[in-house]
Amino acid sequence: MAARIVNEFTKGFWKEIAPLRFALGICPALAVSTKVESALGMGFAVVFVLCMSNVLVSAVRNIVPDKVRIAVFISIIATGVVIVELVMQAYFYPLFLVLGIWIPLIVVNCVVLGRAEAFARKNPVLLSLSDGLGMGLGFTLSLVVISSIREILGDGTWLGMMVLPEAYPGFGFLLRPPGAFVIFGLVLGIMNVISARLENKTA
């Protein structure tokens, strides 16, 4: 059991890292990845919602009729999202202003509903929690990777600190929407190469 919990937790980081492997939840990954700071904020918001929804969905999985399954799941997720929304407004207001509409949009993040449907619906609470935590942190990791590339190359900073020489002119394209798509595509391509290499080694 313990081994399974660990396994469900770790798969979210590489083997099944949602945005990079399955192109799930890429909308927020593109939208809030201009700065590492907002990527982290978004990532932790998703971790919270994902854990909460996975646990609750798993807890009610045997008493919900099939016809209203989606509606119930989505209500649970929406509740988690509104909690995040309220707490963030109360204690992290600047972050709330930066993330803006993307906080309520966690409701329709494919990763969250996807995990509820594909995992939490069929598994006990503890496993679901570990799955949610792993998937959520994997999502955060993807966001941080992409936002790091965009912030460092686009602005010369990382988490607001200057990391490239002052003279670095910046590369505004990366900070604008089309740049997000291109960087994301390239990161996915590099992922493909790395995992192909790894498979060759093990084979």
Binding site: P65, K67, V68, Q89, Y93
Partner: protein, 198 residues
Amino acid sequence: MSLREIIQMVLVLTIVAAVCAGGLAAVKMVTMEQIEYQQIKFIKEPALKKILTDYDNDPISDRIQLVTGKDARGRDVSTTFFLAKKGSQLVSLAFESTGSGYGGPIGVMIAIAPEDDVVQGIAVTTQSETPGLGTKIIDDPSFSAQFADKPLSANFSLSAAGGQIQAITGATVSSTGVSNAVNRGIELYQAVKPELDL
């Protein structure tokens, strides 16, 4: 689909929705004050910082709300007053007033020292004026400086209207908006001063 199934479905969804809403309402109650504080802090604080000097409390925590009039439908309209204190002594009092500019309403934060009825300073909070022209009401500090350290009895109209304020060249409408906001604010202050119980 049988009737039993429908009833079960309705029951489950109703209960889930109600429980979710209840939980959220509870969270909202807990966080409401803090949210209001944060919103005021991040929207009003920059303006407050500009015009309030020499105080040692948090004017956003020490705020009071007073009903200051009625709107077109007869509902109460209230204004928030931020109190700046030094020690326990009230040194100034700031509140927001509006006037209409070129691109829409202009919000102006006014600080008044209640002791001697002097306008300590003003700062524009919200505006949607023409960039480069009307926005000088914010960008040009010498414009708002004209309002500072004048007694309430001074004439805060533009010089063209016989007052003491020099309008910004090319931005007369925006300047008028600010000056109107200040005049309106002083009127409001005079009206509620007895209520303030200072």
